[in-house]
Amino acid sequence: MVQGKMEDGKLIISLFGRIDSANAAEYENKIQEVVQANPAQTIVVDCEKLDYATSAGLRVILRLKKSVDDTSLINVNAELYEIFDMTGFTDMMSIQKAYRVFSVEGCEVIGEGANGKVYRIDRDTIVKVYRNPDALPEIQRERELARTAFVAGVPTAIPYDVVRIEGGGYGSVFELLNATSFVKLLIKGEKTLDEVAEMSIDLLKTIHSKTVAPDKMPDMKAVALDWAAFLKDYLPAEQADKLYALVEAVPEDMHMMHGDYHLKNIMFQNGESLLIDMDTLCHGHPVFELASMYNAYIGFSAIDKSHAIDFLGIDYDTCCKLWHKSLELYLGTTDESAIRSVEEKAAIIGLTRLMRRTIRRDGMNTDEGRQLIDYCKKTLMELVPKVDTLVF
């Protein structure tokens, strides 16, 4: 019924079975025996084996919390967690849900985003595993972003559960029936490059048509200004100042953008496109979106062309075609000079980010890093003087 043990100065109380009014007093007496035998400032109640608590059981927990303020609950099953949430216990004390444990060993990687990898567990279940081992707040944040996008009318998969990953970390679970990533459609030849580009740009336009409340998502321009400011130490003053001024002159824009938009982040389900990676959602002028797409398709592979196949699973040439077709569709023109002009604007922001990122990741100390930094610098010094505005 009740077991207690001391661990690192904390009293761990494990509860078993079901607490209701018939046995609440007995539970309470046993808990008090344990508490009196192990005086502690901190109590952690392990609910792994606690099946259920009626409201009489909730009051036992409440009284324990009142007697020792630093009392928290861990491994609470989903049903009980919901009750604790409804009754305001979660506002009052730390209550951690019990997470199912998933193994992703040997599972197919079907997508990759800024903060994690997406695996297929079985035909209908996919799980996004976060790189950060302590990703619970991040998962919560992404869930909120996904919900905001969903409510705004962007086709988005919303995770239905959070799981612990065997070997460490957490994942969000999605149920996607018969879903395939866009990149897979292309590789398998189920869709042509033009079809895939068209579907992805249609979805992108849907995203860009939504406006967001200022406090819901970060402002991409503010982020890009940080990137430009960083390069002041690495570019000649004239170019650096102009670069900063160009970013600063981009008008405020409350339209939603994805922030990491490429074929690996879009799923195809029952004839519809669906976004799965929402942690980079923000708002801003579309040039910032095109900049991140430029990097995904072109920038990252500028020096090492094999990067494209490693990252997206498609070769560099295909990436170049996809990028060009995407621009053509997004801008609604086949006029090469118009396309080239927007490409240059996207490249300026994309390479600013890439140069900073490579420097910050110790790129100065590797051959490939130095080459990439030099390439970014050379291209920026060539493009920045040519361009009067980043807006199109």
């Binding site: 909730l58 009754t87 305001g88």
Partner: protein, 288 residues
């Protein structure tokens, strides 16, 4: 205002399932600095009778009280009654009905203990038990421990008494409410949201339950209760405000039986008494 009256209007003595005698409880109330209290034993108010005439002039004010266990087709309810005339037929009759039900249940339990477990308690003890105001499972449990049938009272209740199939009869909520009103008292729903103790009744369901009981004449809710979180208390207070009900505050202290601290009502969490509580205090003659 909040410091003016330290109150606890939901307390039990050993007249029902608490452990303190009425005198012990009075001592605890004095020590806790409570100024207004009510003893709300289940289905009876003999504790109040026991203290009548024993209170000193500067003692905290004692309000007559009772907690009826009620049931109808819709569920179970605990209904508190306050400030009634203890000698009025209206409430005496309901207490007698409840007492008769309870005694029938005790006799049935004793019969079944004999039939199913061959447990024969000494005649003297049975006589004493049946002479109590409100004997119940805890009292029978104590006897089973005393005569070596169980290690602890909890064990006796869970492993023996709860296994006896005894049909329970209850006073209906409208009977309890009418009895309290007929004796000039105020009927109040105890620990709303928790039903008779195990349930969790929230949102529309609670609203509907309250409206039903108001149809019988219910006038108040126990808005401050030791078992409420801030969120639950806010729900009850919102309902009280919506329907203009009286608000009371009680800990449900049972002495050593439960770890509820006397005076723990959550009233110290608020900076202002809700209107329903102020009105209740005025109604029972306490000036703010």
């Amino acid at each position: 205002m909040p410091d003016l009256y330290h109150i606890d209007l939901h307390l039990h003595t050993n007249v029902s399932d608490g452990t303190d005698t009425p005198e012990e409880l009075l001592r605890c109330v004095r020590e806790a600095g409570i100024r207004l209290f009510s003893i709300t034993d289940h289905d009876g108010y003999n504790a109040h009778e026991a203290l009548r005439g024993r209170m000193a002039e500067d003692d905290p004010r004692l309000l007559t009280g009772i907690e009826f266990s009620c049931k109808d087709e819709e569920g179970k309810y605990h209904i508190l009654g306050y400030n009634f005339d203890p000698d009025a037929d209206a409430i005496v009759n309901v207490v007698e009905i409840g007492h008769a039900y309870r005694m029938r249940k005790v006799r049935k339990r004793l019969d079944l203990l004999k039939e199913e477990y061959n447990i024969d308690l000494p005649e003297e003890e049975v006589k004493h038990l049946l002479a109590m105001e409100n004997p119940g499972k805890p009292h029978i449990g104590n006897l089973l421990v005393k005569y070596g049938y169980s290690e602890t009272r909890d064990q006796a209740i869970n492993e023996i008494i709860n296994k006896l199939h005894v049909h329970s009869e209850y006073v209906r909520p409208e009977e309890a409410i009418a009895g309290i009103l007929g004796a000039g008292g105020i009927p109040v729903l105890a620990h709303p949201l928790f039903g008779s103790g195990d349930e969790l009744i929230l949102g529309d369901e609670m609203d509907a339950r309250l409206r039903r009981l108001m149809g019988f004449g219910l006038q108040g809710v126990e808005g401050f209760y030791s078992g409420f979180t801030d969120k639950l208390r806010a729900q009850v207070l919102a309902l009280a405000a919506k329907y203009g009900l009286y608000v009371t505050a009680g800990s449900d202290y049972h002495g050593k039986n439960k770890l509820v601290r006397l005076g723990d009502t959550g009233l110290d969490e608020v900076t202002e008494y809700p209107e329903g509580l102020t009105k209740f205090l005025e109604e029972v003659g306490v000036r703010g």
